[in-house]
């Protein structure tokens, strides 16, 4: 027993390690939140599981990398990259929804699944064609590079920035969802789609805008992740899985759920990798399965 504890939990005695992992967990959680929030909203309103959401994240990262490599550098270039990624993905998302997804809303579910899978395959290879097979990297902007000291410990500044950015987005999303007409329609759609058209809401526009917003969030997430992640083909396959776990645990359709679950998953992953490196992955899916069996609508979702 003592053996087991010392083997897997020895790091717990070291506050620096613990603090570092908590930070890593929370900042990763924020990136996860950006992907999952969009995925959750898209499911809540459009009732589509967007397997291509990871690809949207990846495209955001690639766009950011490209913008940064073309620009002279500095803080403004970085902001430009973030903006470009968000805007590009918003437009792209709208195009995908209007051009492709819209045609199959009434089709059997296997068609919707196949369509998003097709996007995964197509976008993955398109990224390869446009940006090559190698991993790209970009550096953290000078302003955010380095570290800060607090509570007697050092934290990488970029990680703190990510947490700040994530919270800002979460707050912004909350404000939009609770204080704008659009947001009210979105929340209503999550609960009862049928009512919307009865109320005279332009559901077409709503669906397009929701998908575009989800894509924009993913793109922003990708851009924010670009400095700390290997941006290469295959990125879109890895990130989506954690996003699914988050959306299931948090509740499909709930942004609050996505936030809470993202932080949970981020932190548990960070510590899980320390304590049980082999098992962490297995545990993640086991938890996903357990939630689906016991409480399919997750922590904050709407029961069917």
């Amino acid at each position: 027993m003592i053996e087991f504890l010392s083997q897997h939990f020895s790091w717990a005695q070291n506050p620096v390690v613990v603090a570092r992992q908590v930070l890593a967990g929370i900042s990763n959680g924020m990136l996860l939140f950006l992907i999952s929030a969009g995925l959750s909203l898209i499911f809540g309103v459009l009732r589509i599981i967007n397997f291509a959401h990871g690809a949207l994240f990846m495209l955001g990262a690639f766009v950011a990398v490209s913008v940064l490599s073309l620009s002279p550098g500095g803080g403004w270039a970085y902001v430009g990259a973030l903006g470009a990624a968000t805007a590009a993905l918003a437009v792209f998302g709208a195009a995908v929804e209007a051009g492709l997804l819209r045609r199959i809303y009434r089709a059997p579910h296997e068609f919707q699944l196949l369509l998003t899978f097709a996007l995964v395959f197509v976008l993955g290879d398109v990224a390869k064609l446009l940006w090559g097979r190698e991993d790209h990297s970009t550096s953290v902007p000078a302003l955010l590079d380095g570290s800060m000291r607090a509570l007697g410990l050092t934290f990488p500044s970029y990680r703190l920035f990510l947490i700040g950015a994530g919270l800002a987005v979460a707050l912004g999303l909350w404000l939009v969802l609770h204080r704008t007409r659009w947001g009210i329609f979105v929340r209503a759609a999550t609960m009862d789609r049928g009512m919307l058209s009865a109320l005279g809401v332009n559901t077409r526009l709503l669906f397009t805008s929701v998908f575009a917003a989800g894509a924009a969030l993913a793109g922003l997430g990708g851009a924010l992740a670009a400095p700390i992640v290997a941006v290469g083909p295959g990125l879109h396959v890895q990130v989506i899985i954690d996003a699914f776990v988050v959306v299931v645990i948090g509740g499909m359709g709930s942004v609050m759920g996505a936030l809470v679950a993202s932080l949970l998953v981020g932190i548990v992953n960070a510590f899980g990798l320390l304590a049980f490196p082999g098992l962490a992955v297995v545990l993640t899916f086991a938890v996903m399965a357990v939630v689906l069996v016991v409480r399919p609508h997750g922590l904050f979702g709407v029961p069917e």
């Binding site: 492709l100 699944l113 899978f117 097709a118 993955g124 290879d125 064609l129």
Partner: protein, 305 residues
């Protein structure tokens, strides 16, 4: 031509085929046989039972790994291991399907699909991490049928001898009272309940049977391709049976088999020319979904109508 005539012609073609093509294409033909069984069994669940599983690749993969572990780790003489292969592959896949199915059929629609997906990912993670048993990331390689059966021609007939009866068994299944009830279930589970059928048990049985046959397909393919990888269980693999079934047409029994043949051949031809097979596959799927929802057999039916 009458159905019996068409069937006889098809059987004759399948028997004569390997004699007319190169070894390379015989391997492809074996792959088609395995994937045809995989797709048809999947469609019994989807087209007949109305149950869309996102995790059927799990059973194909379990069958493949069971075959590999049997041949390489069970410590049996190759002949004995090989003889037990069909049964072991099916039993392993069926066992996995019982566990996955038991939890999954308690939900329907999207939650059923997500559950099957989660379980497939769980099995993927196990395949990736249980390095001692499964070879981890590297998978298991060097799988070979014993002796003369390692010859592509011989293995082709071996595969045919397994796949053809398996397809026939599945055909009898969908034509049986069980199959009728399954079709009724797809349309109106509540009505079936009120007629005295335990719907959940029925769905579970269908899930396990189709999972077992997918496992058989996986086992057959493992020994023909010579290896098994965790990638067989990765989430992107869950689209494969769906694509094959929809491509061939989910409204006919053998439609998915046709879909499998077209899919495999396309993959071989396109992968041979370019590394961008995923792009091609994605485009094909988009065309299928947006322009050809009835699949190939649906197109053919409309032509003759």
């Amino acid at each position: 031509m009458k159905p019996a005539g068409r069937l006889a012609l098809g059987a004759a073609a399948l028997l004569a085929l390997p004699l007319a093509i190169s070894d390379f294409w015989i391997f492809i033909a074996i792959e088609v046989l395995a994937f045809a069984l995989y797709a048809v069994s999947f469609n019994v669940l989807l087209g007949y039972g109305g149950m869309l599983s996102f995790g059927h690749a799990a059973f194909f993969g379990v069958g493949g790994y069971a075959a590999a572990i049997l041949m390489k780790k069970a410590g049996l003489p190759p002949g004995v291991a090989f003889a037990a292969l069909p049964l072991v592959a099916m039993a392993a896949a069926a066992a996995a399907a019982v566990v996955v199915g038991y939890f999954s059929v308690r939900r329907s629609g999207i939650y059923f699909a997500m559950l099957t997906f989660a379980f497939q990912m769980l099995l993927y993670a196990v395949a990736l991490k249980a390095t001692g048993l499964t070879g981890g990331d590297d998978g298991m390689t060097g799988l070979k049928p014993p002796g003369l059966l390692a010859q592509p021609l011989a293995y082709y007939y071996f595969a045919l001898a397994l796949v053809a009866p398996a397809l026939y068994v599945l055909f009898r299944l969908v034509s049986s009272p069980f199959g009728y009830a399954l079709r009724a279930l797809r349309g109106n589970p509540r009505r079936l309940q009120y007629s005295g059928v335990d719907v959940r048990a029925h769905q579970l049985a269908a899930f396990v049977i189709t999972g077992a046959f997918a496992g058989l397909a996986g086992g057959i393919f493992a020994l023909s391709s010579g290896n098994v990888f965790p990638g067989w269980l990765n989430w992107t693999a869950s689209a494969t049976p769906i694509v094959m079934a929809v491509l061939g047409g989910v409204h006919s029994f053998l439609g998915p088999a046709l879909g499998a043949a077209v899919y495999v051949v396309l993959e071989v031809l396109i992968s041979g020319k370019t590394e961008y097979w995923p792009l091609a596959m994605g485009i094909i799927i988009l065309i299928l979904v947006l322009l050809m929802p009835e699949g190939l057999t649906g197109l053919a039916r409309r032509r003759t109508a």
